[in-house]
C-alpha cells in the first residue's frame, strides 16, 4: 500500500500523480506499488514540488509495518525515537512557544492543521 498526500503543489504535479495513483480526496493519492515505482513517483514529486510539501507512506516489514518520507516545509516533523518513527508538531511560531502546560488544561489551542 502506498499513500501520498500533497499540499500546495502545482496542478501539473497533481495531474502527474493521478497518472499512477487514485486521488481519493483533494491531494490524497493511494495505490499499491513496489519500491522501484515508489521511487520513480517520489522523484517526480521532488522535481516539481514548488512551494508545497508532500508526504509518502508505504507498508514495509518493520515494527510499525509502514514507513514514510517527507519533502518540503511543514509543521509536522518526522522524529526518530529509538528506531520508532514518530511525528513532532511544531507550534505556530517558533519565537512564541506554547505557554508551558498548565496542570489540567482541558482544551488545546492548536488548529490541528
Amino acid at each position: 500500500m502506498l499513500v501520498i498526500v500533497v499540499e500546495n503543489v502545482p496542478a501539473r504535479l497533481r495531474g502527474r500523480l493521478a497518472v499512477w495513483l487514485l486521488e481519493i480526496r483533494a491531494g490524497v493519492y493511494v495505490g499499491k506499488y513496489g519500491r522501484r515505482v515508489r521511487e520513480l513517483i517520489w522523484h517526480q514529486i521532488r522535481e516539481d514540488l514548488g512551494e508545497g510539501n508532500a508526504v509518502m507512506a508505504w507498508s514495509t516489514n518493520n515494527e510499525n509495518g509502514f514507513d514514510f518520507e517527507t519533502l518540503g516545509q511543514n509543521r509536522r516533523l518526522p522524529v526518530d525515537h529509538d528506531g520508532l518513527r514518530l511525528v513532532s508538531f511544531l507550534p505556530m511560531s517558533s519565537q512564541e512557544p506554547l505557554a508551558p502546560l498548565q496542570p489540567a488544561a482541558p482544551v488545546d489551542g492548536g488548529d490541528g492543521n
Partner: protein
C-alpha cells in the same frame, strides 16, 4: 459520540517506547509529549506494549488514565533502566489466572513440573530426571555461564563474567552495560505481557522475593535468543552511546523473533505443564451483576 476506548491484543503492538524528557499529557484526546519549546509529539500508546519513562519526564493524571484505558504499561525507570516503579495495569484483572498461578506455585510437585518445562524450553532438551528445583537451578546457572561465554566468543566480545553494581548504572564494562540495557527492555515487555495475560508478576517459580520474580522467570525463556546476542553484537562495536544503540537493536530483535506473538502463549504453555486445572468458581461465589463485555484485548486487560 465516540465509543469507549478498549485495549487491543499485545501481539498487535509495538514493543517498547522510551521517553526521555518532556511533559506527557492528553491534548485533543491524544497522548502527547510536549517539550519546553511547545513542540508536541504524539505517541500512539494504544499500539505500544510498554512505555518507559526516564528521569526528566512528568506525566499528568489524564495521561495515566489514557494509558491504562488502552492497556499500555507505564514503567518509571531510572538512568538507563534501573527500575523504580511501574503502573498501567496493576495486579492483573483475572482472578482465575491469578489463583491458577498461585496454586501451581504453592504445590511443590506442580512447581517442579513448571520449572522443568522452563528448563526444556530454554535449552531445547528435557531436564535431567529426579532433580529438585534447587539442583535444576544449579545446572541452569552453569549452562547460562557457558552460553554467555559462547555468545561472547561468537561476537568477539571480551567477556569476563556477568558483573555489575545494580545501584550504579555506569558501573561494569561495556558488554555488561549493554546486557543490562537490553534486559531492561525485555523485562518491560515481559511484565506488560504477564499483566495483559492476567497473571501476577511477583509470583515466581524459579525466582522469588521480588515484585518482578515471574517476569525474570519468563524473560529468561527468551533472553538467549533475543537480547543477549543483540547486546553482544552492539558491545563488539563499542558505540559512543551503548544504551541507545542496544535499545534500537532490541526493537529489531523483538520483531524478528516475533516476541510479542510468542510471549503470552509461552506463559500459558509453561504453566499448563504444572498439570493443575484452572480453578472454577465455587457454588458460593456471586456471579458479576453486570456481565463482562466482549473485548478485543488480552485476558488480563480491564476492558
Amino acid at each position: 459520540m465516540l465509543p469507549p476506548l478498549k485495549p487491543i491484543p499485545i501481539k498487535d503492538r509495538v514493543s517498547v517506547v522510551f521517553v526521555e524528557k518532556g511533559q506527557l499529557d492528553v491534548l485533543d484526546s491524544a497522548f502527547v509529549v510536549v517539550d519546553k519549546t511547545g513542540v508536541r509529539t504524539h505517541i500512539p500508546v494504544g499500539g505500544v506494549a510498554c512505555l518507559m519513562l526516564e528521569p526528566g519526564t512528568r506525566i499528568s493524571h489524564a495521561a495515566v488514565v489514557l494509558a491504562s484505558r488502552v492497556g499500555c504499561l507505564l514503567v518509571w525507570i531510572g538512568d538507563g533502566g534501573v527500575r523504580l516503579y511501574a503502573s498501567g495495569q496493576p495486579g492483573g484483572a483475572r482472578a482465575d489466572r491469578l489463583l491458577w498461578q498461585a496454586s501451581l506455585a504453592l504445590d511443590d510437585e506442580a512447581r517442579l513440573k513448571v520449572v522443568r518445562k522452563m528448563y526444556s524450553m530454554r535449552f531445547q532438551e528435557e531436564a535431567p530426571a529426579r532433580r529438585s528445583v534447587q539442583q535444576l537451578r544449579g545446572i541452569e546457572g552453569a549452562r547460562v555461564r557457558k552460553m554467555y561465554e559462547l555468545l561472547a566468543r561468537q561476537y568477539r566480545v571480551d567477556w569476563k563474567w556477568r558483573e555489575y553494581d545494580h545501584t550504579q548504572w555506569g558501573s561494569g564494562d561495556i558488554p555488561n552495560r549493554c546486557l543490562s540495557a537490553a534486559t531492561a527492555c525485555l523485562y518491560g515487555v515481559t511484565e506488560a505481557a504477564i499483566l495483559a495475560a492476567g497473571y501476577a508478576p511477583a509470583v515466581g517459580f524459579i525466582h522469588t522475593g521480588k515484585p518482578q520474580s515471574f517476569v525474570y522467570d519468563i524473560a529468561d525463556l527468551f533472553k538467549f535468543d533475543t537480547v543477549v546476542p543483540t547486546a553482544f553484537r552492539i558491545a563488539a562495536r563499542t558505540p559512543d552511546d551503548p544504551e541507545r544503540a542496544v535499545r534500537l537493536a532490541c526493537r529489531d530483535a523483538f520483531r524478528q523473533t516475533r516476541l510479542l506473538h510468542r510471549i503470552i502463549p509461552a506463559i500459558e504453555e509453561v504453566l499448563a505443564a504444572g498439570g493443575l486445572p484452572v480453578p472454577t468458581p465455587t457454588a458460593e461465589h456471586v456471579e458479576p451483576a453486570i456481565p463482562n463485555k466482549e473485548a478485543l484485548g488480552d485476558a488480563g486487560h480491564r476492558g
